[in-house]
């Protein structure tokens, strides 16, 4: 670790916090339907959309209707995306002449983008046409993010409403997320990225003759407009195969800093929105603190492991010391302009959130460095998490934490004035259990089926890590990968698709059920016996619950993968 590296990490944390607070206030106003300084410009667009689309914004939905609208909207989007990929060869804006995407790959990719996972079994520049990138990938980057945000807003309404039948209108929440938040932010960020060097064109791939006389075909495209929402919507599916490690997606240290901040800005801002919407900003601050502590701990472990580097390479007599003129450390799969600190920071932030973009290749991380992103996802991506989905996941853990606290003192648990009873706790546990169930059962299956074993590129415990990472990333709707895994096979395309669907919709539906159940309850004023949920004690309890639940569930398999690999590497064993 270097002083410069640590300073950049601190600067990053400060920038995210400073940006999230005003953004949180803005988003709270948007979801409450209040005027903002952008309203004169954006309200007419919003109203026009309602009018064209047969949406009656004043009509509120019961949680079941809300869930049905959400599922219908996502299903239609998924089918359209699948169709676009299958027929892209017959559509315009295809200068590279891409052929139809194979059915299993198109299924995997359509599910992946509809669930905000954005797992890449395809290589963007050699598989997708410009039109597919625009009307397929870019559109889904917006809509899947808006879906997560809508679920969160419905859940917040569960706490703020008293004895209400409805939790809001899905279409309104989704459209507002896109028109008032995601679209203006993306347009601004896209132009910033072009300034830094990200291409934005519809040109054919450029054939260059290099200085030494070779021919180099340089992929082009409308990259910046997709890159912006890819980061802001915690999507992570790259325009190019190498994702944000590619100089055209992430050309400078400055673009890298802004992209990293963009990953966490909206999820962190929503935590502050939450505090404002429940009219108790201390509650938002407490959750922010719990998330912040987990994030910083992850960054520290990952950065340290990568800065020390790979002992097997150090034995070759390489210079791995970091300094002002050399990045040092484990540089396999990393870019010089980012160095170790920014790579480790990105890896941690992108898996804390459900972004899944990479600016360095995680498969080549040291065992412990690569375990940090895996653990982040296994905790359920509640450390800021996906846009909306992170905080609604966190609130599920909060329900569990107040339940455990209630058991300890022998009182009915409550949160924000709502009594947490058997139904909410059961639904919360369902949300939490569905996730390890998908990872461990599908991962275990892959360890016995020949089709599963065939995908591993790495020998030894690292092979297990590759498969485990894939299913964790899919179920957590993250999308980052230990990319050595040959995932573009019928077996992995279909099973990973199933994991993504389970991890997305089998969590969203119970969460909306919690929202409906809470909205129907009275609000009880706090009494002397109420366990305060804004103090240090609660933050500590919440972190402990997250770590114990995640840790106990996944520790055995982590011991067989990255932990044993780390010990063997230190002892000099290679495979």
């Amino acid at each position: 670790m270097t002083a410069a590296g640590i300073l950049q990490i601190l600067l990053f944390c400060a920038a995210v916090t400073a940006g999230a607070i005003p953004l949180g206030a803005y988003m709270a106003r948007v979801y409450s339907g209040e005027r903002t300084w952008l309203s004169p410009l954006l309200r007419p667009v919003e109203r026009a959309i309602y009018k064209i689309c047969f949406i009656r914004p004043e009509t509120e939905q019961h949680w079941t209707a809300y869930a049905f609208a959400l599922l219908a909207f996502n299903l239609v989007g998924l089918l359209v995306l699948y169709a676009v990929m299958r027929v892209q060869a017959f559509l315009p804006f295809d200068p590279a002449g891409q052929s139809a995407v194979a059915p299993d790959l198109a299924w995997n990719t359509a599910v992946s983008f509809a669930t905000n996972t954005n797992w890449q079994n395809y290589a963007g520049e050699s598989t997708l046409s410009y039109l597919t990138q625009m009307v397929g990938m870019t559109v889904h980057n917006f809509t899947s993010a808006a879906t997560g945000m809508a679920v969160l807003v419905a859940l917040i309404r569960g706490f703020t409403r008293r004895q209400a039948r409805t939790v809001g209108n899905f279409y309104v929440d989704a459209v507002r997320s896109i028109i008032h938040i995601l679209l203006p932010a993306s347009a601004l960020m896209a132009l910033f990225l072009v300034w830094q060097g990200v291409p934005q064109n519809l040109d054919a791939y450029t054939a260059a003759t290099t200085l030494e006389g070779a021919t180099q075909v340089i992929a082009q495209g409308p990259v910046a407009s997709q890159e912006a929402i890819k980061m802001l919507g915690t999507n992570g599916g790259g325009f190019f195969n190498a994702n944000s490690a590619h100089p055209f997606e992430n050309p400078t240290a400055f673009s890298n800093f802004v992209e990293m901040a963009a990953i966490l800005l909206i999820p962190a801002g929503l935590v502050f929105s939450f505090g404002r919407m429940v009219a108790d900003t201390r509650q938002g601050r407490a959750l922010f603190l719990a998330m912040g502590i987990l994030l910083v701990a992850g960054i520290a472990v990952c950065y340290q492991a990568e800065a020390v580097g790979n002992p097997a390479l150090s034995r070759l007599g390489l210079d791995v010391t970091a300094g002002d003129n050399a990045p040092g450390g484990n540089m396999e799969g990393k870019e010089v302009r980012f160095g170790i600190a920014n790579s480790a920071l990105w890896a941690t932030a992108t898996t804390a959130a459900s972004n899944g973009s990479v600016n360095s290749m995680l498969d080549s991380y040291t065992p412990i460095g690569g375990m940090v992103p895996m653990v982040n996802m296994m905790l359920g991506e509640v450390v800021f998490g996906g846009t909306g989905s992170g905080l609604h996941g966190m609130i599920v853990f909060v329900i569990l934490a107040v339940f455990i606290a209630g058991l300890m003192v022998g009182r009915t648990p409550e949160y924000l004035g709502k009594k947490i009873e058997a139904r909410e706790v059961k639904l919360a546990v369902l949300c939490i259990l569905i996730f390890p169930l998908a990872i461990l059962s599908l991962g275990g299956l892959s360890m016995v089926l020949p089709a599963g074993l065939a995908g591993m590129s790495a020998p030894g415990p690292h092979g297990l890590s590759e498969v485990l990472y894939a299913f964790t990333s899919a179920a957590a709707n993250n999308g980052s990968a230990f990319a050595g895994l040959s995932g573009n096979t019928p077996y992995y395309n279909s099973t990973l698709g199933v994991a993504m669907l389970i991890g997305r919709f089998l969590v969203i539906v119970p969460t909306l059920a919690i929202a409906g159940s809470l909205a129907a309850k009275k609000i009880v004023p706090p009494s002397a016996g109420t366990f305060p949920t804004h103090g240090g004690l609660f933050v500590g309890l919440l972190i402990a619950v997250i770590l114990v639940v995640g840790g106990l569930t996944f520790f055995p398999v982590l011991a067989l993968g990255p932990i044993v690999e780390h010990l063997l590497l230190a002892a000099g064993t290679l495979f």
């Binding site: 279409y171 003759t209 390489l318 990045p327």
Partner: protein, 207 residues
Amino acid sequence: MIKQLLPSLALTIVLTLLLGLAYPFAVTGAAQALFPRQAHGSLIEKDGRVIGSELIAQGFAKPEYFHPRPSATTAPDPADPAKTIPTPYNAANSGGSNAAPTSKAYVESVRTLVEQVEAENPESARNGPVPVDMVTASGSGLDPDISPEAAEFQVPRVAKARGVSEEALRALVTDRTRPRTFGILGEATVNVLALNLALDARFPVRR
């Protein structure tokens, strides 16, 4: 049921037009007006021909040029499209090696690279170890930069091949070194293509 599906269908169509066409086209228009060079991929032309992009690494193997980092990009095998073959600096299929840190084959491949770099730069190899970024493949396979230490390591070789003094070359490298952005962000870098173009302009190879 139909009543619920209708808004979903309509909204999908409207959002596809707005976010899938209007938004990228508007950004394209604005980008090409404001930053035309970057919007078209920061291409570099020499004598009217595109020789590459400032942001994309290209292969250099001759001793008189500075060499970029190793690239693990691939391309489909012409003999069997289901397989891939190593095709370094393939800017139409980016990617890293994704080699596992505990892979014997990987560590052996790095050892081979170290030996190759040492053989190419015997003078520097006598004076110190090889900087790690010279023998590890970048994440994109297209990393346009090397570290200042990696450039310094190659200075004696390039100076000899071009018949110029190491001091003059070192001054050029220092001049072309980009420090951390705002003095703090990222790492110091040397853009290999820009440096090699400057080399050709300042110290042409005598033939």
